[in-house]
Symmetry: C2
Subunit: 489 residues, 2 copies
């Protein structure tokens, strides 16, 4: 399959021509959310960035299997103060059930994603649902000599791995430097080296999510799920692995080490990382307590927000920056995005109503090329959007009769805007139902007041016309002594 | 906790006072869908029936943990014609991935459930996500002597179980009769007796969903998932287990046997079974190819349907029959339900606008008692709905000034209808956004035509009034040579 797509590969620090292993198939894995709380703006950026990748790859003809995980194996603990005995005596139903919390936040996450018009990935596997697969991978790494057991936990032996392979190749870190910066932790640890990471953790009594294994009752290390599930659903080698920039180290570095240690080869051809959302230059994160949840964004209920912003405003705001660039949150930028989004959608509405008027004053084919060139250049959505805005100037000129457009060009231009803005960028007309129905109530009241005036003026032709036409539309009017009532049939 | 609720227990064939093990907690498990196709009307009946149980238990003050499974470990096979070698050579991405199909239909199932206003259960565990738990249960049953291995598969030894316990206690079947009716299958089978059932099945080469075990690479028997996941999330003993009548035997009978064989005691206190949907007296099912999917119901695109029926019409149709009674599909019955639902919702609208007018002509407290009595009598929704319709007669009389109602009674009545119809029965105002916006377009056009007439008649007061008030409402009018254009800001 031919394409002109170039993707920036974090592994090589360069843009590379996109050549999947087994075209027309593409396998793509993206790190999904940990579901112990509501998604915030940072989650939206990751999901929207890779939604564009998913949409565009499909648009240019690939069959994409897109896997994005739900991390539900967390460190949720029983209330330690209660004491083990007391907890053990509690009936199962009286105990905290992590899966109930996970289910609640997973549902809310999907609700957010639906609002943002994110296309659901092909498979959204859960860490807790893939314990056997993860245990098998630990066994494999163990068998190959890159893991050791310590007090019932199993750790990845980074030093030993680094003797044969290159730990740090993705993030550019050196094991010597890591040793230097983390040495102070040693001595207290059951790990041989501070940079070793857990493949399997023995659960202490407070841990309520636990599974049996040959080493201990415990739970898998965090880095393991992505390696195991990526391999299960996409194979030992697949095309794209994505995630937030903050996952590059240690998470993705550890993933590479796990795949090589288990299978003798790397899994991923193109590593893609989206940049983060910042507030006043600082990363938006839970730990810094400077995050704004998506529900807050949509409702406006957060002190950092001057108003509510619609899901499409958020989407447009994020698409106006390239996914690898930093993006700073501000009310000004969001309000600008709100206007920009509206302008684009109005432009499309105008375009869809245009009629051909003669020879084109504007090179539509060249314009289309520019648009695709932006997407082919590592999914450069801000350049694409800038192009689309340029086009709207022409559209408005044509609508005003100042420019002309030929029929085939018009057809091409209409398809281009609808395909790029709606199908690829995933923008959509915002639901206006509530607003609509408020306007509807007001408009019908106004119409019926005009009718009352007409009746007072003995203009029965008008008053009857209004009543009859409303009835035809399904609006039933009842005259009352002091006015009117109406309902929609 | 006090309650007057009585539940029909299939196990005892009688209505029993509801007394959960550890009030105020209630543990409830309901068999969910197999996700290899779209949900049909029969699925809607099961989910709505137990949604009422969930809603009412919460309404009367219980803390309910409601678990309903997703059966995704199916018998999906590779295309056998291709031959093993050819399949093995295919890249992972080129192969059929059952989890991708499962994910697709699971998403569609939830979409249907949301449309029907089903409250999402507390936990919706997947069979594929609980392989370790199921394997542990097989080991336990094996250890206790109620299972045997045969060619890598593990079967439940029903005869041996029945020597100590009672296989057939739920369905009323006798093992001797079962032997009689199924004897012809013996000899060809790896089972000791035809009524034995698989706990673990060795996967043949075509089976693409498989996990390692001490017996074979294979997959769990179908009955096992519910026993294992019920125990995991609700404990070894819990209160309610529900499902369709067709699951009573063998599925639920096998579940009881599994729990007793593994834990030495039964898990479930109240077994509840909803009756099925029939068409012309025959069960609606995939195998009989007489089913109507919910998407078909909502769109009307099915030869058995005279029109589309809204989700709330379906919900009302199902609630108008008691969950244990048969319910026959017909367009007539659905059209009647559509009217009934509209009548109830209009009644509530009228009720919410009523004003107190003096002493009540109608005993509201007694009426409320009757309503709760219906629900307390094994969730008798048709009797409740009949009562609500009776009440609407009074509501309409009061609205017409023919009856009176006192302020406290009115408050009670309004709360009662809103609580019972919306919170407990889960009815909701149907989304009318699309309809609304069509009406809105028409009404604004009509209003602007009236304005054109006014202008022609030099009635500028009216024409300005219309324009100014529309502007205030956010409807921007642009005058054109040959008419007008408008848009909502």
């Amino acid at each position: 399959m031919e394409n002109n797509l170039n993707i920036y590969n974090t592994l090589t620090r360069s843009k590379e021509k996109f050549e999947p292993h087994t075209p027309p198939h593409v396998g793509m894995y993206v790190c999904g959310p940990t579901v112990y709380g509501d998604a915030h703006l940072g989650h939206a950026r990751a999901s929207i960035s890779f939604d564009i990748v998913f949409r565009y790859l499909k648009y240019i003809g690939y069959k994409v299997r897109y896997v994005s995980n739900i991390t539900d194996v967390g460190h949720l603990e029983n209330d330690a103060d209660e004491g083990e005995d007391k907890i053990a005596k509690k009936a199962r139903l009286e105990q905290l059930e992590p899966m109930e919390i996970v289910h609640h936040f997973t549902n809310r996450y999907y609700e957010n994603m639906n609002m943002l018009n994110i296309e659901r990935p092909s498979i959204e596997p859960r860490a807790s649902g893939h314990i056997p697969e993860q245990l098998e991978m630990v066994q494999e790494i163990f068998k190959n000599g890159f893991a050791y057991e310590s007090n019932g936990s199993v750790y990845f032996d980074v030093k030993k791995y680094n003797e044969k392979h290159n730990y740090g190749k993705l993030s550019g870190r050196k094991i010597e430097d890591l040793l230097e910066t983390t040495r102070q932790l040693e001595g207290q640890s059951e790990k041989r080296n501070s940079f070793d990471f857990a493949l399997w953790k023995k659960a202490d009594t407070r841990h309520i999510m636990r599974w049996k294994s040959e080493w201990s009752d415990g739970f898998p290390g965090w880095h393991l799920e992505c390696s195991a599930m990526g391999m299960k659903y996409l194979g030992k080698k697949f095309d794209i692995h994505g995630g937030g920039l903050d996952l590059q180290f240690p998470h993705h570095e550890c993933e590479i080490a796990q795949s090589v240690a288990a299978n003798g080869e790397e899994a991923v051809k193109y590593w893609m990382h989206n940049n983060l959302i910042t507030i006043d230059g600082k990363k938006m994160s839970k730990s810094l307590n400077n995050f704004i949840t998506l529900y807050d964004m949509f409702s406006g209920e957060n002190n950092l927000l001057e108003k509510a912003y619609s899901p499409m405003t958020i989407r447009f705001f994020i698409l106006q920056a390239h996914y690898r660039s930093p993006l700073d949150f501000s009310n000004e930028a969001l309000k600008a995005a709100e206007k920009g989004y509206a302008k684009l959608m109005t432009g499309i509405k105008t375009l869809n109503k245009l009629e051909a008027t003669g020879d084109s004053d504007f090179d539509v084919k060249d314009f289309a090329k520019k648009c695709f060139k932006a997407l082919d250049d590592d999914f450069n959505t801000p350049i694409l959007i800038a192009n689309l805005f340029d086009g709207i100037k022409h559209i408005n000129s044509i609508a005003a009769g100042k420019e002309k457009i030929e029929a085939n060009d018009l057809f091409l231009l209409q398809n281009l805007y609808n395909d790029l803005a709606l199908t690829v960028l995933g923008l959509q007309k915002e639901e206006e139902s509530k607003e609509d129905s408020k306007v509807l109530d007001n408009v019908i009241d106004l119409l019926l007041n005009i009718r009352l005036d007409a009746k007072k003026n003995k203009d029965f032709a008008t008053s009857d016309k209004i009543r009859n036409q409303l009835t035809e539309m399904g609006v039933i009017v009842k005259d009352k002594k002091d006015g009117f009532e109406w309902e929609i049939k």
